[in-house]
């Protein structure tokens, strides 16, 4: 398994798109900076800034979208260039192959959120909007790590779909649909979709203003929702990888 993960990293050499996508980690911290700069606000509550820079669109849309695209990219080349048969001949375990891709997604997600966290702190503290406090910074890092790990599990269905497709259009469209569904179900029933469950898990303690849910958040149930989707995704990936030779 370790060999598979190492080779997954080797395969990413010269993939400029992977680095380019990391730029998206700067989007919301930068917009938060512009927003507070425009309103010339000083002494802002740090959580107020982080809600804009991290806990808003980054968590709901940007990170799932970037991870969805990453899942598609990771599976695309091997499918497109008919490489799977070379790999199966080695032989490698089909599920080991799938999970090694997932490890890349997880690692990338953590990097992405750490960049977002650091950029948020820089854009909030350096202009003087927010005073530097270890407590809030550590809270931000902890939640960013949570978001990164949970969202990477949340996009497992996209990885499973991409594993069964030669092209990239269908997994890409499914990424958009999946994110839209997550957005939609968060106003209906948060336990139906991993992304809506995750966003509510993040807001569980209520110390992110504006993100505290009116519903009583049942964290185990939200995790169970993600788990069920993930188990189904793994089964789907197992089936589709066995079917694809």
């Amino acid at each position: 398994m370790l060999n598979l993960i190492q080779t997954e990293f080797l395969k990413l050499r010269r993939k400029k798109m992977i680095w380019f996508m990391l730029l998206a980690a700067f989007i919301m911290p930068f917009f938060a900076f512009l927003f507070f700069e425009y309103f010339n606000k000083n002494g802002v509550d740090s959580m107020g800034f982080y809600k804009w820079s991290v806990f808003g669109f980054t968590t709901f849309i940007i990170l799932p979208f970037i991870l969805g695209v990453l899942c598609t990219v990771l599976m695309h080349d091997e499918n497109r260039y008919d490489m799977l048969k070379q790999l199966w001949i080695v032989p490698i375990s089909k599920m080991g192959y799938f999970f090694s891709k997932f490890v890349i997604v997880l690692f990338y997600s953590i990097c992405f959120m750490m960049i977002t966290a650091v950029t948020s702190v820089l854009f909030s503290v350096l202009p003087g909007f927010v005073p530097f406090e270890w407590q809030s910074v550590l809270f931000l890092l902890e939640r960013c790590l949570e978001i990164a790990v949970l969202t990477s599990f949340g996009v497992l269905p996209i990885l499973a779909i991409a594993s069964g497709q030669k092209g990239y259009v269908f997994p890409f469209c499914m990424t958009l649909l999946y994110i839209f569904l997550g957005f939609f179900t968060s106003s209906v029933n948060i336990y139906l979709h991993p992304l809506s469950s995750i966003s509510f898990i993040i807001a569980r303690s209520g110390n992110i203003p504006g993100l505290a849910s009116a519903q009583g958040i049942n964290v185990p149930l939200a995790l169970l929702c993600t788990l069920i989707w993930d188990v189904l995704s793994v089964l789907f990936a197992h089936f589709s990888l066995n079917r694809r030779k």
């Binding site: 060999n3 598979l4 190492q6 080779t7 080797l10 395969k11 050499r13 010269r14 993939k15 080349d77 260039y81 008919d82 490489m83 048969k85 070379q86 790999l87 199966w88 001949i89 080695v90 032989p91 490698i92 030779k245």
Partner: protein, 322 residues
């Protein structure tokens, strides 16, 4: 190709008495089409088995089934004397293969691509990648990306990947595809050396008759999914009848003379001027002299033998392939 001797130091002992690959009543059905019909294939250890057939005859499907790349509909496959089913993890690391045009990561160089496969295989030798590339004539640590490779280079890289882990059995599906004539000759020498010097067992498929006739020790002729013939090249050469082809001015008169003077019955008339005499022990000098004395002009006489091409044509009952 001398590097080969450094790379594969000794002929590996093979304690198998049976076949390296043995299939029994192997069948593959795609939808309503039967691609492989009850094939019994026997690849002997240390020999080159050439699977010969037209495009679409079922060669690649058989190889894919052996490599587990497509499920078998029915039948049995034994590799290294073991049933393939359930023993894949033990058997496949002992096999190197190229199936169709090998695919690699376009964003990586040839060396980087092979390093990935070496890592996946857990190849012990640190110089395995370098040696494999040297064998196929590709540069080590070259900066050229795989996406910029020519078809021939891609094919060479595929072969380098197949031999990277020093496998006992090589399964090569049309490995000379895309190679230039010199490359084909080099590859032929290389494949022959792998078998003769290092005891590798090789199953190679091709639709090029001359390629198989120059390479293979044993041959299997497949047509429309049916393995029509399986024998060694030596047996095949024996089977291919030798005859004397006689061109004369008057076939009927010549036939009469052959029957009366030489008591010959084992011959056939090909056309108005050509006879085929199957008794090659006949003294042609005497035959020619006798025919000329009887006013039958002898235009030419020569000893001929069926080529593999003739044989293929004969047993498939159709046109030759290449």
């Amino acid at each position: 190709m001398d590097i080969l001797l450094l790379y594969y130091p000794k002929k590996r002992g093979n304690n198998m008495n049976d076949f390296v690959i043995e299939t029994k009543k192997l069948i593959k059905v795609y939808g309503e089409q039967t691609a492989v019909k009850s094939v019994d294939l026997h690849v002997k250890p240390g020999r080159i088995y050439g699977l010969l057939g037209r495009n679409g005859a079922g060669k690649t499907t058989i190889m894919k089934m052996i490599l587990g790349l497509t499920p078998i509909t029915s039948g049995e496959i034994k590799v290294f004397g073991e049933n393939l089913r359930g023993n894949e993890k033990r058997i496949y690391p002992r096999i190197g293969a190229i199936i169709e045009t090998p695919g690699f990561y376009p964003n990586l160089t040839g060396t980087e691509n092979l390093e990935i496969f070496a890592k996946l295989r857990g190849t012990a030798s640190p110089n395995a990648v370098k040696k494999a590339l040297e064998i196929v004539g590709l540069p080590y640590k070259d900066k050229k990306l795989f996406s910029k490779y020519s078809l021939g280079m891609k094919q060479r890289l595929g072969i380098a990947n197949a031999i990277l882990h020093d496998p006992e059995l090589l399964i090569l599906d049309e490995p000379t595809n895309g190679l230039d004539p010199i490359g084909i000759a080099e590859m032929r020498t290389f494949i022959k050396n792998l078998s003769s010097e290092h005891g590798k067992s090789i199953l190679i498929s091709s639709h090029i008759l001359s390629e198989i006739s120059l390479l293979a020790d044993d041959i299997g002729i497949i047509d429309h999914g049916v393995l029509l013939e399986e024998s060694s090249m030596k047996e095949l050469e024996k089977k291919n009848s030798r005859y004397i082809l006689l061109h004369v001015s008057d076939v009927s008169k010549a036939s009469m003379i052959l029957e009366q003077k030489f008591h010959l019955t084992d011959y056939s008339v090909q056309d108005e001027q050509t006879l085929r005499i199957y008794d090659t022990s006949l003294n042609m000098a005497v035959v020619n002299k006798t025919l000329v004395m009887q006013d039958v002009a002898v235009i030419s006489s020569q000893v001929c033998g069926d080529t593999l091409e003739d044989y293929f044509k004969k047993i498939t009952g159709g046109e030759v392939i290449a």
